[in-house]
Amino acid sequence: MIVAEQKPVDEIERMIVPYERVLILGCGTCVTVCNAGGEREVSFLREALQLAAAKNAGESHVFSEYTVKRQCDEEFLDPIAPQVETVDAVLSLGCGVGVQSLAARFPDTVVLPGVNTSFLGMAQEVGIWDERCTACGDCRLDETAGICPITRCTKGILNGPCAGTKNGKCEVNKEMDCAWILIYRRLERLGQLDKMRRYYPPRNYRPIPRPRRIRAFAKLAPVGGNHG
């Protein structure tokens, strides 16, 4: 899932200064699971912003709140159109996709990001999420025992560990496992160390130019070029 982190309240306060009526809009999917932008966080943030506004005399905001099932899907945005029309800005607690989806759907409304979208990851333990995927568009997890060196090695290197690893940890963070030590141990356990002995050529960055687009039907129904 997409993991995000709520922005500091003072940053959000500065962002909303020009706007009187602000709709704080949560998202019921990824950011709800990672406690960054679900219904609960929307309501906490509203209280925090109201408190902050009360302290700053002269600044008045009218907050409203709502949480949609998914901000990145237009069908869930249509029903809130009347509500959006009544405000000066929407403060989205959805991920970066949600913010942009709102901006596209409501061209006349200011949309502000309330969270920092961080990564694709999973919960490690309560309150801790770890990055697991870079969405690089060229998955090699079959070669690395299901552990991604592009995401989990700070250098994203492909031919084994650098010499900076100590105690199985990374040179930039003594708490962080060295991805290549994890890969080695798991390949050894699976009897597949030959995969680590292979040479892996440089990555092809061509699938990565931004922005990317996937066409669901492109591969199912090729157009022309029948070489049969």
Partner: protein, 303 residues
């Protein structure tokens, strides 16, 4: 024909000594030139570091040009941290055209540990891929397969970590570097002969030259600092304790003593093909180490 003077020496059977100089942070190259002049005739080649520890400095290529100008034999340290394939290729073409024909191919430290932690780390390729890319350039093609007008030639070195606390994955990578075309290795700092001995038992089966990395420690504090903060460095407890026995202000002398002892031990046992002395900021003491460890003079009194 040998690709470089250093390549010629690699096959001479002589016990090799290389060292390194670190370029300045800024345009004042006087100290760098001084170190080059001090060392160029005492060693078989001088490495010039490439923003060592991810600290921005005068470039390695510039330092190598100076080594050439002063009549020394340079080894261009080249990391993949700051340049993509195109930039690395271009620098290699420049190096070759200016008579720099030795390269030490490295992945490079993370930017997080250096003085520009906010920059974008590149790592478009890494050490093994860099070695292959250099060999591809030599074949007259660039990394994208296009023809070159004039191909470079390089004697390629790489790094290996005999003292790694988990050696097996490092050895796999060592073999991949050899398969890619590495001809010599300058190892990460070696602090005890036992780990070097173990490594050489395995490494001697390959047709490559191994130069043991000798880091000259200047104090117990520096050793502890390096253990904590410098990637990959593991100074054993015994060495830290020995440094701690030095009188105040005599730490570097103790460090020199340890380095001399290590180098003598390596030579006596013929453990490997040479040493690579890293004085990390104390380049001026390298001639003394060479005199005491290699040139076999009786150490003068009072040391």
């Amino acid at each position: 024909m040998a690709k470089s003077l250093f390549e010629e020496k690699l096959s001479s059977g002589k016990f090799l000594v290389t060292t390194e100089v670190g370029p300045p942070k800024g345009t004042d190259i006087s100290e760098l030139v001084h170190h080059i002049d001090l060392l160029k005739d005492r060693v078989d080649a001088i490495n010039v570091t490439d923003h060592q520890s991810s600290v921005m400095r005068y470039p390695s290529l510039g330092g190598c040009l100076l080594v050439k100008e002063r009549g020394g034999e340079p080894i261009l340290q080249m990391t993949c941290r700051d340049r993509n394939r195109m930039a690395l290729e271009a620098d290699l073409l420049l190096a070759d055209s200016r008579g720099i024909h030795n390269v030490l191919a490295l992945t490079g430290d993370s930017v997080d540990i250096g003085d520009h932690p906010e920059v974008k780390p590149v790592f478009d390729i890494e050490s093994v891929q860099l070695i292959r890319m250099i060999r591809t350039l030599e074949s007259g093609k660039d990394a994208a397969g296009n023809d070159l007008k004039g191909a470079p030639s390089f004697c390629i070195g790489a790094s290996v970590h005999p003292g790694a606390d988990f050696i097996e994955p490092q050895l796999i990578k060592f073999e991949k570097k050899i398969a890619a075309g590495a001809q010599f290795f300058q190892t990460q700092g070696v602090f005890d002969l036992a780990s070097l001995r173990r490594f050489m038992q395995y490494a001697s089966q390959f047709n490559v030259k191994i130069l043991a990395g000798i880091i000259v420690l200047a104090s117990a504090r520096m050793a502890k600092y390096m253990n904590e903060n410098v990637p990959g460095i593991i100074v054993p407890k015994e060495v830290v304790e020995e440094l701690a026995t030095a009188e105040k202000g005599k730490g570097l002398q103790k460090g020199i003593e340890i380095a001399v002892r290590l180098i003598r031990g390596i030579r006596e046992e013929r453990l490997c093909d040479g040493v690579h002395i890293m004085a990390v900021g104390n380049e001026r003491i390298v001639p003394e180490i060479i005199e005491r460890a290699i040139e076999e003079r009786v150490p003068s009194q009072g040391r």
